[in-house]
Point group: C2
Chain length 604, copies 2
């Protein structure tokens, strides 16, 4: 393997967390009263150390070895069990879950940064705690008392694992077509029967037990999503009071997928009740399955966006280090001088363009995701009067967090491969794995096409467009702050125009719908999400440039060299994005306003 070290961008994370979001101010919230920057810094440093020493070394090996299914049992790649042991002993399963359940109880942006670091080091590995955490959070929200007391802390401690079982062979995006059956047998118990597929972490050897959260249909349930209920189905039965393990439940992993990436995480076909003896407990009430799942969806989707950031972000860091290291060719001025000194490829303008493109996108989505996570936190734990406003922003931004970050994350890995050249295509360096790993992010947890429909058809339409209005207000505040910085004068007008374009395009699409053309807005939902995401990143980067420019002025000559460079590059990054990426918004708007219905009319 390469000599380039795993080196997540802690400087930029700290910039977002402290300088941009002022997470320290969250200490006013009683939940976070005991925390301070010193502690956050320690957490981040420790997470980075753990990731570097324990997780990154198993990432490539895990990819090559993959998971194995033998005799109905899944084994994770060599090194995973040891890493898991160390991981749970260090208390890393759930940095963000409240302390009363065994988590670290950190504010969301800090917890997210920890998640980014781990996912950057070993995405496939980080999915195991990710799913345990999601299951725990769901049970905290919707589970019975014993589920919270017996199951949650086992998930958070890493003693047990968790999964989300939605997809069936005939029911992917159309989750309402689930056929798995659940027949009540009394005492809140049901017999489960059906097949689930594409279940991440569906079986493995890391934990003593796994609790599957399974969507299924009770006997008299109505068709469609309203007839779905949610069940807790363990791999091994257990005593609800003590948690003591009993017999194996009738859950069998009948296959694992041969995938393009995330090979360290077993993607399973799970058969529930093949011998008619699979027991599960109802979570919440019958028919509430989708509602309960929906409650978790924002966090889960921000989580997938975070995977895009993590993998894309670290791919950028590797490309940057490689570009500094790899000697090839001469400076353009010396092209004709065969004896001119050879330079590192970071000297080549085309490579610099790729690097700044990657930097802008990685930092833009980092800003978006950390911010949205903080808003989510504040919508639950912030001052009562502000919660609704934050919730609106989270609702609107979630599909963008998921889809745009996953798309952008993948594109960054692609650019990273390109910077590495032939080496980028080979396993010697990690970037080809990052590309393969990251391709799944645009697919699972609701394909990006589904996110686009969610954005345009639900979120933007909601309450007569109130969410978008709320976000426009947010943009205006960011613009207002930027106006105080003369050095950003050249960018502000472009962002204003992009904001107006987003508004106008939204109205246009609504117009098509109002005129009775339901198909056209649906056709343009993905370009609309791309447009929205493109504008959002401009806003995020302008916000960052404002903070950085202020810091440059405030720090003056007393700034450390590295800090001054960092801030100056923040301003350049925003400028680059606004001048060279943001124009794409105009072309997307042109596409949307064209009214072209060719794809609908095509006969193929």
């Amino acid at each position: 393997m390469t000599g380039i070290a795993f080196d997540p961008d802690l400087r930029d994370m700290r910039f977002v967390i402290y300088e941009q979001l002022d997470v320290e101010s969250m200490s006013r919230i009683p939940l976070y009263a005991d925390f301070n920057r010193e502690l956050y810094d320690m957490v981040l440093d420790e997470a980075a150390r753990f990731a570097r020493e324990t997780l990154y070394p198993i990432n490539g090996k895990g990819d090559r070895a993959g998971c194995k299914l033998e005799g109905g049992k899944v084994t994770t790649p060599p090194g995973y069990r040891e890493a898991w042991q160390a991981f749970r002993e260090s208390g890393w399963v759930s940095p963000g879950t409240p302390q009363e359940y065994g988590g670290q109880g950190l504010p969301a942006p800090v917890a997210l940064a920890v998640g980014e670091i781990f996912s950057a080091a070993a995405t496939a590995f980080a999915m195991y705690p990710g799913l345990a955490r999601a299951a725990a959070d769901l049970l905290i929200h919707a589970g019975d008392g014993w589920m919270r007391s017996t199951v949650v802390h086992r998930l958070i401690s890493g003693e047990w694992g968790g999964t989300m079982c939605l997809t069936e062979p005939q029911a992917g995006s159309a989750v309402g077509d689930n056929r798995t059956q659940a027949r009540p047998i009394g005492e809140g118990k049901y017999l489960i029967e059906g097949t689930k597929m594409f279940i991440s972490a569906g079986d493995h050897d890391l934990t003593d037990n796994i609790v599957h959260l399974v969507l299924a249909r009770t006997p008299d349930a109505p068709p469609g999503i309203k007839g779905l209920s949610l069940f807790l189905v363990p791999k091994f039965r257990f005593d609800p009071e003590s948690g003591a393990l009993g017999e194996p439940n009738d859950v069998v992993c009948s296959g694992i997928e041969h995938k393009m990436g995330i090979n360290g995480n077993a993607t399973c076909v799970l058969n529930f009740g093949d011998t008619g003896d699979c027991q599960g407990w109802l979570i919440g009430e019958e028919g509430q399955g989708i509602q309960i799942m929906f409650h978790m969806m924002n966090e889960a989707r921000i989580g997938v966006g975070l995977q895009g950031l993590a993998v894309g972000g670290i791919a950028y860091r590797f490309a940057l280090a490689y570009a500094r290291d790899r000697i090839q060719g001469t400076r353009i001025e010396d092209l004709k001088d065969a004896l001119a000194p050879r330079v590192a490829i970071i000297e080549h303008p085309d490579v610099r363009r790729m690097l700044l493109w990657m930097k802008a996108h990685a930092e833009g989505i980092r800003s978006l995701l950390y911010t949205t996570a903080m808003y989510h936190d504040l919508s639950l734990n912030g001052p009562e009067a502000e919660r609704e406003g934050y919730k609106q922003l989270v609702e609107l931004l979630t599909p963008i967090c998921k889809a745009h970050s996953s798309d952008v994350g993948f594109e960054i890995t692609e650019q990273a491969v390109q910077v590495f050249g032939g080496y980028g295509y080979c396993g010697e360096y990690p970037v080809e794995q990052y590309l393969r790993d990251s391709k799944i992010f645009s697919i699972y947890e609701g394909t990006n096409g589904i996110q686009a429909l969610d954005l345009l058809g639900r979120k933007v339409a909601m309450g007569g467009g109130i969410l978008l209005m709320r976000y426009m207000q947010e943009i205006n505040e960011i613009l207002e702050a930027a106006r105080a910085r003369p050095s950003l004068a050249g960018e502000i007008g472009d962002v204003e125009k992009a904001r107006d374009l987003l508004g106008a395009t939204t109205f246009q699409l609504a117009g098509f719908g109002a005129a009775g053309d339901r198909a056209y807005p649906v056709l343009q939902a993905t370009p609309y999400l791309n447009l929205f995401g493109t504008v959002v990143l401009a806003v995020e980067l302008l916000k960052q440039a404002t903070v950085a420019d202020r810091a440059l002025e405030a720090g003056g000559a007393s700034l450390a060299d590295a800090d001054a460079r960092f801030y100056r590059d923040k301003v350049r990054t925003a400028r680059f994005y606004v001048k060279t990426v943001l124009p794409r918004a105009r072309s997307l708007a042109k596409q949307i306003e064209s009214g072209d219905r060719s794809p609908i009319e095509a006969e193929f």
Copy 2:
């Protein structure tokens, strides 16, 4: 594996070959006097049958098994040797090489179609004959008499293989930094010493011998590319007259790369002369190495573009078949009716948008590549007076063929994965392999960044812009023809504007250069190539729509249903591209004209 059949788009190939390019008219050239449509059709049908029956079945298996290096010998995946035997017996190694050398001597567009079919079926496999063919073509052009008589027909018959050995560990894009040494020992022979890497098909068990074409430096050669000479270095020595094989030459494969894709083709590190006894023959004169290589470059680069088309094109076909097959969800009108009939996903507008996007791009680059190949053919074999004009177009379009087709081909595979959803990420269907295979195309045979420099720095600058002027004239002729079709009136104006934009942007970039800013045009070379490629595809699709619209009118009611559908969709495809993809040209032009130098100034 899946139930979806390998089904290359013969209908579209025939459209380009007969209806658009009128390849039959090439029979006026003596070289092609004996050919006719019946024969071409037979060749295409046979190639498709061979690809379906013999090549496609080894594609997935070859990917999973990969090549092995044991005891300094490389073995290809199971099934490759048998396929190779059948392949060469059927005379498929070189459809385009003149018959006097054992090829089929087909006109370039037909030969290219055959190449597309094979590369679509098994890209990694098709690289073996591709490299043998390239080596043969080079020797036909620049080799001594005995090289042509002894070596070429063995390459074309598939008895021997060939490679191109340029890259060294320290010399990738900077080919002038080659260090491999060649010391003359008389009789045109040299002792070769050095290490080459990333050598595709560098060693394998398909052929009795392999001839490596090796760039190396003679003792008193000047530094840089001018000091490079080209050598024929065999794996086994042979008698130049009879071709009888002798001792192994001192060439050792010391490693093969673990790659993201094209695993059926061994990418080798080759050590020449480790024990000081590696013999090679000079090709041409000392110091002519790069010149000779350059002569082959256009064809080789069109060949890589063809790989992008082949893999992207077939990925589209698989996605289309899957979309027709896969049932999921209801029509949008029925969204709220849980009992509404479930439909194939091709009914969903977002899926149709992806499919038409893929179709437009695949057909656009097919048109571009076949056309450029025909121009290349005519520049060599056409009427004397027309050759220079064709050559100019080929020179200009080659970097676009290579870079834009490889980029677009990869993007199509990505969209195909997205259409397949979770299944697209799994090995059960072939699209995840297509994505992995196709990522190399933007890297080898000159990275796409290098292509952009070639386009802007050499081709567009050449002769005061004469090549671009020639192409503008070509665009104008295509527009003129389109103007005769009233149903294309809505698109013509957009293409005219795009043409003007391309011209204006070129002048702007030249202006930066003229004002002494050499770095800025280099910085914008890739966006410029992207702009150029975006406009070129609009022109190609408009040209196709013109032909199709004319055929619709001419055929009238007597057209077969499938043909009428095909032609109507051609018109829609052009419309879709012009209305929804071409606007991207404007955003790229904005980026280029911005003058933003942030990437150059960034401190990283």
